[in-house]
Amino acid sequence: MSDSDSMQRWHLRMREKPVLRIVAKRFIPFVLLFALYVQFHGDYGPGGGFQAGVIFAAGLILYAMIFGREALEKVAPPRAVEIAAALGVLLYTGVGVATMLGGGNFLAYGALDSHDPMHGQHLGILLVEAGVGITVAAVMTAVYFCYAGRGAGE
Amino acid sequence: MSAISALPPGTLLIAGALLLPLLRGAALKAWLLALPLLSFAHQLQAPEAGPPLQFFGLELVLLRADPLALAFGVVFHLAALIAALYALQLQDRMQHAAGLLYAGAAIAALFAGDLITLFIFWEFTALASVLLIWARRSERARHAGLRYLVVQVGSGVLLLAGAALHYRATGSLAFGALAPQSPGGALILLAFGVKAAFPLLHNWLQDAYPEATVTGTVFLSAFTTKLAIYALARGFAGTELLIPIGVTMTFFPIFYAVVENDMRRVLAYSLNNQLGYMVVGIGVGTPLALSGTVAHAFSHIIYKSLLFMAMGAVLLRVGRIGASQLGGLYRSMPWTTAFCIVGAVSISGLPLFSGFISKSLILSAAAEQHHTVAWAMLIIASAGVLKHSGIKIPYFAFFAHDSGLRVREAPLPMLIAMGAAATACLVIGVWPQLLYDILPHPVNYEPYTAAHVIGQLQLLLFAALAFALLLRFRIYPPELRATNLDTDWLYRRALPAAIRAAARAQRRLRAAAQTRAARLGHALIAWLRRHHTPPGLLGEPWSAGATALWAALLLAASLLLFYLRTAAAG
């Protein structure tokens, strides 16, 4: 409970720091945007779901640190985070199943588009990376909830 | 039906024992008596050989019914029936079940055609029989039972190891004649020897049997050692080594039997002595000798059960079994007394009783093969038998000084069981041909020649005379550590002091060795316990850090090993 007290005190103090609040508010959208850039640039250069997911989660966690866990819970309810993590994995494995239904091997993206395998490759990698990104972002946020939420329920 | 006849006899007993928990009252009793009969019927219609069974790549022969196995089967069934009858009034269902399982496993072991099957039932008898000891539910019995189990399972382990070696060497698991010189054969011989209570391997017998329940001892005396005798007869007939071993077996227990106070322990020693005759018979190995062995096993099972039953009845009624604590019981237990005397004269080999018939066979076989020394020793030993079993048991239990004990006669089922056994002793003694007909080899032997009868009677008379004299001069009170004095007067005059000293020295030596070994054993166990119980080093998991350290050390060790090995090779 002392932990949760200190948490609350931390947020109270944050209220009194307008510079941080303003900067964060301006900054966070760019963090999230950058995450999306890394996510979709992964198709052509360095980047991809792992990195993007972590960056995205970092943005969310920054938001929670400045404005409080409750504020983040409004944006991303823990239940929704949990579902997102599950859905991300399902998206990944779903692509695998789809390729099998399309007649290829598991995760043989070429099978996603019977006319143009190259197009299928693009689509497959896009979806898989999206799944990875969603999962990583959700799991990192969940981990944050797990520690930051400690004491609240006790 | 054909499926049942493919199974070895005895399995019926095992299966039947598993039904016991469902029965109660009269049905239970009827079932207990019916099972041995049913099983015997099963044996009678058993084919000569069952179909081989595939058991992870090995071919097992569960059923091989040749004359040797069949002969033992007859007597085992008879013993099972008598023992079940004796135990009938018992309320303890576990003992009933254990007894039947034990008998069933022992019978099934007789028909095992290969070493693995033999091993399986061999261990099964150990497991079932130990329950008969534990069923007494005393601390002493629990410990004795555990020691017994360790020895019995140990003999099974030796047997399995021997079987594996034998299989390696010959590629066959069939249980036939084995070579005692080969490592596998030697291990198997040792396994049989443990179970047959060879000298120095015998302690478990005297340790465990007297601790078993009243009825349990009757079962125990019938099966365990005789199964070993059967196995020896099958695997090592004609092994000369067995003759000296057997002669030793007939002799050394006499000393202990004479000085022992606990009557059931006296019988346990005499059991050992009787086994000696059979081991000699196997060592001689001629058809006559083998037949003698089987015949002796047959009659011995019956009269030894009879004696154990009588002593069990005494223990049941009096609650004590020390020779010095008994006496004068013939007044209150006349029937038991009578049956006990029948058993005693049978074991002593009095003509017209079963012991005479079978012992003579072995003696004649030994003489025929010119094992003169062994023959002479056996004769001398048989006089000793008379003293410790034939006279000591009935005399101190039922006569001697009147201890003032007034108890009830044994319960009726026990009396019937004893009566049946006594009748069997007499019937075999009078009509030996009945016994000879079931022996594995045809026997044309007439025990009742004048020479035989007179020789035996002389021997017995001298022994009885010696006993009387000793008593008369008060050299033979039960608590005295007396020596064995035999009919031979030279022997008697020259050696008593030496033997007395030797016996005493041996006892002292044994005691010292035992305490030293015990102290060592205790220290070892304490050490093991200290390190393996939870706060100890090996009984409690270490911290994660310690494992990290061990992982690092092991890694270093393996790197070093690999480096050295390859450096040496390169």
Partner: protein
């Protein structure tokens, strides 16, 4: 060159030993986790150094002008593998810390010797309680 061209090995080994030592010697569970992290990082460095090809450039495909020789790429595979290893490391750390949090809640301490003593006391209590 320092370390005879094997500098990266020495760094890896130094980190690895630091991590192992921390795990072995520290009683505090959080510090143990940190040791574990250092240990894992050393392996990641090891892999990353495996992928480096002397003179190689970042493994990004580019359009080649006609006649231009293909550039020498470093091996990207170890990096990709380490992506997975990092994820594993994060998961392990998160789970380990979560366990530490719950241990703290259940025992009130995160020092291993204190935990051990608490467990031993509990067992002693139970065995005497069970005997009575």
């Amino acid at each position: 060159m320092i370390g005879g061209g094997l500098l990266h090995y020495w760094v890896v080994i130094a980190l690895m030993m630091t991590g192992l030592y921390t795990m072995i010697a520290r009683q505090n569970l959080v510090k143990k986790i940190m040791g574990l992290n250092i240990f894992q990082v050393s392996v990641i460095l090891f892999y990353v150094s495996l992928g480096k090809v002397a003179g190689g450039t970042a493994p990004i495909l580019k359009e080649l002008a006609p006649g231009e020789p293909a550039p020498l790429y470093s091996n990207p595979l170890p990096h990709v593998l380490m992506l997975t290893a990092i994820v594993v490391g994060v998961a392990v750390t998160a789970l380990g810390l979560a366990l530490v949090v719950r241990i703290r809640a259940a025992y009130g301490t995160v020092e291993e010797d204190a935990l051990r003593k608490l467990d031993e006391e509990e067992r002693a209590e139970r065995s005497t309680g069970g005997g009575a």
